[in-house]
């Protein structure tokens, strides 16, 4: 039987080496699929077709399975994020504290629906299913930084700061 040789890295972008490192650490085992996709997303910000193909080939996982996993889990994104990301928590505690109003006013302000990025690629508006900071509800994440007891004014202020940049 011929020994398996992993495919070459898609480009000489150094980030592929990090991705490859995760797979190597797991002995290119099939079960490292989710771990590897996590690495891809943390390196590139999202999973594109190219990346999913490369990971699937390297781990000898059918492309359908890799795509299935990438689309099954909410944490993985198949679209590039904007320069800034506003994530609004929609967990129960935040919902009780009126996070739906925050979301509605952010959607209105940016003119986009949740899950989308503004046309200029500046701001992505996302929602999260509970970030576990319920004691500080309502909670938003501005570029990953958690901010609690958020008011509509504070959130709009942040969005405006990003627009001006």
């Amino acid at each position: 039987m011929q020994a398996f040789t992993p495919p070459p890295l898609p480009s000489d972008d150094k980030r592929w080496k990090i991705v490859n490192g995760t797979m190597r650490k797991n002995g290119f085992a099939r079960h490292a699929l989710i771990e590897t996709l996590h690495t891809v997303q943390s390196c590139f910000g999202f999973l594109d077709e190219n990346a999913i193909r490369f990971v699937a080939q390297s781990l000898r996982v059918p492309l359908s399975q890799a795509y299935g996993v990438a689309t099954f889990y909410h944490y993985f994104s198949l679209k590039p994020p904007g320069k800034h990301t506003m994530t609004i928590c929609t967990g129960t505690a935040c919902y009780i504290k009126g996070t739906d109003k925050l979301l509605a006013s952010a959607e209105k302000k940016l003119g986009i629906e949740q899950g989308l990025t503004t046309k200029d690629g500046n701001i992505s508006l996302m929602t999260a299913r509970c970030v576990g900071a319920c004691g500080r509800a309502p909670v938003i994440l501005t570029d990953g930084e958690l901010r609690g007891q958020m008011t509509g004014e504070q959130m709009i202020e942040q969005l405006e700061r990003w627009v001006v940049e």
Binding site: L37, Y75, T92, G135
Partner: protein, 551 residues
Amino acid sequence: MNLEELEQIAESTRLENSAFDHEINVCMGTGCLSQHSDKIRDALSTEVAASGKKAMVRRTGCMGLCAAGPLVLVDPDETLYQHVNAGHAASIVSSLGGEPVKSLQCNLREHFDDQVHVVLENSGHIDPERIEDYISRDGYKALVKALTEMEPKDVIKEITDSGLRGRGGGGYPTGLKWGTVAKASGDIKYVICNGDEGDPGAFMDRSVLESDPQRVLEGMAIAAYAVGASKGYIYVRAEYPLAVQRLQASLRDARRRGLLGHNICNTPFSFEVEIRLGAGAFVCGEETALIASIEGKRGQPKPRPPYPAVSGLWGKPTLINNVETFANIAPIIRNGAAWFSAMGSARSKGTKVFALTGKIKNTGLVEVPMGMSLRQIIEDIGGGVPDGHKFKAVQTGGPSGGCIPEELLDLGISYDALIGAGSMMGSGGMIVMDDTSCMVNVARFFVEFCMTESCGKCIPCRAGTAQMYTLLTRICSGDGTMADLDLLVDLCATIKETSLCGLGMSAPNPVLSTLRYFKDEYIEHIVHKRCPADVCAIQASVAVETEEVTA
């Protein structure tokens, strides 16, 4: 590592600590960190250095009272300061040894005095990234005791006798589960810690992993010894980066100290643990779905039996317990089953950690003995509903649970009592709602959650939750009919009976429990086209029409 070496580490840590007159503990859990408690710690360190006082500034995990954060606890006087910022550092440090800073002091004695801390005994008192801190508070004594003085079957007997039941929600007796895995045939077995806290509004597991990660590792190691496993996985949500980081540091420390790895404590027992990141799927809290996810697949559940205890990860016997369950193991082994079973109610032993959130004054994490009444938790410990609003319901069990109305507030907390009330213990979220919440809208919120989180494998859950959502949306927008209500009840029964896994089976619970206690609100929406809490946007034209009719 043996007991003497452990004692030596503990002793030298205590000695180091005793060189200080004061210990300033700064909460650096997710809640307080979001308010820059790291800067407070730095400011305090600078002030201490400048003052020349013998004080130690320590990073700790969650102190529980998130509402009053950032929190700083000064020991040995047990002075708790609330809403601290870096500017307060100078006054706190200069008050050491004298009168505490009155303006910052948090005087919520009843909030803390009514609690009993077992799982949270170290939270807020140790640096979660220093294994020595954990050892100095009796950490790893239980593991050493189990390995050197007890047979695996003795460990299982102790856990069985303690009456501990799974803290992830179902309440399955832990000892029984361990016994099944121990009896299962096979050389390779696995232990999995379920830290996929997908239940929105709950953050006990996050807090335990952030505040006292070694406790969870110790519990897992004892479990592995008892059931004969040598490999463990901790499945944590990727949304909890701090917990993951602290776990990684803890794994490193435990390996370095020989408390994980080969031949632990010079015995034949070897145990290694790996972290697996979840990727945002609520269904992965279900055992078989979680196993599929660790195997790198889509998190879809499988029919049981076979149970994971017989055929789990890669077809091998697998023990899965929740973070809080593992966190209870070390104290049980250390203090004995009788000590543990003395706490709690007849069929629910020990304590339970709850995440108290929503319309309540003291939001945060609390740990109380089982059997305590909901009223005591909400009114005394939680401080009641703020801003002059009226309590309406408390939601427990997350999307699988239900809403409990005021008339049942004297109910003592236990697995069985909550199920009897149409809710469930769940992982421990407790969300308080006041008169500004519409119960139909709340039911719709949870159904929407289950609809989007349904993995799609079985039809009752995939299609049923979507139909429930349509019906509830219709009622919320004022277009519902009484026939819709009957249809909803029918549908609930079908989904409950025919779904494949717990997600589907329990998805109707929020609807059924609100129908049971707040049917008048449904009727108000349907018949009078009115939302009593003024939450639902019932179209003006519909509302006006009925106004005219009633006028």
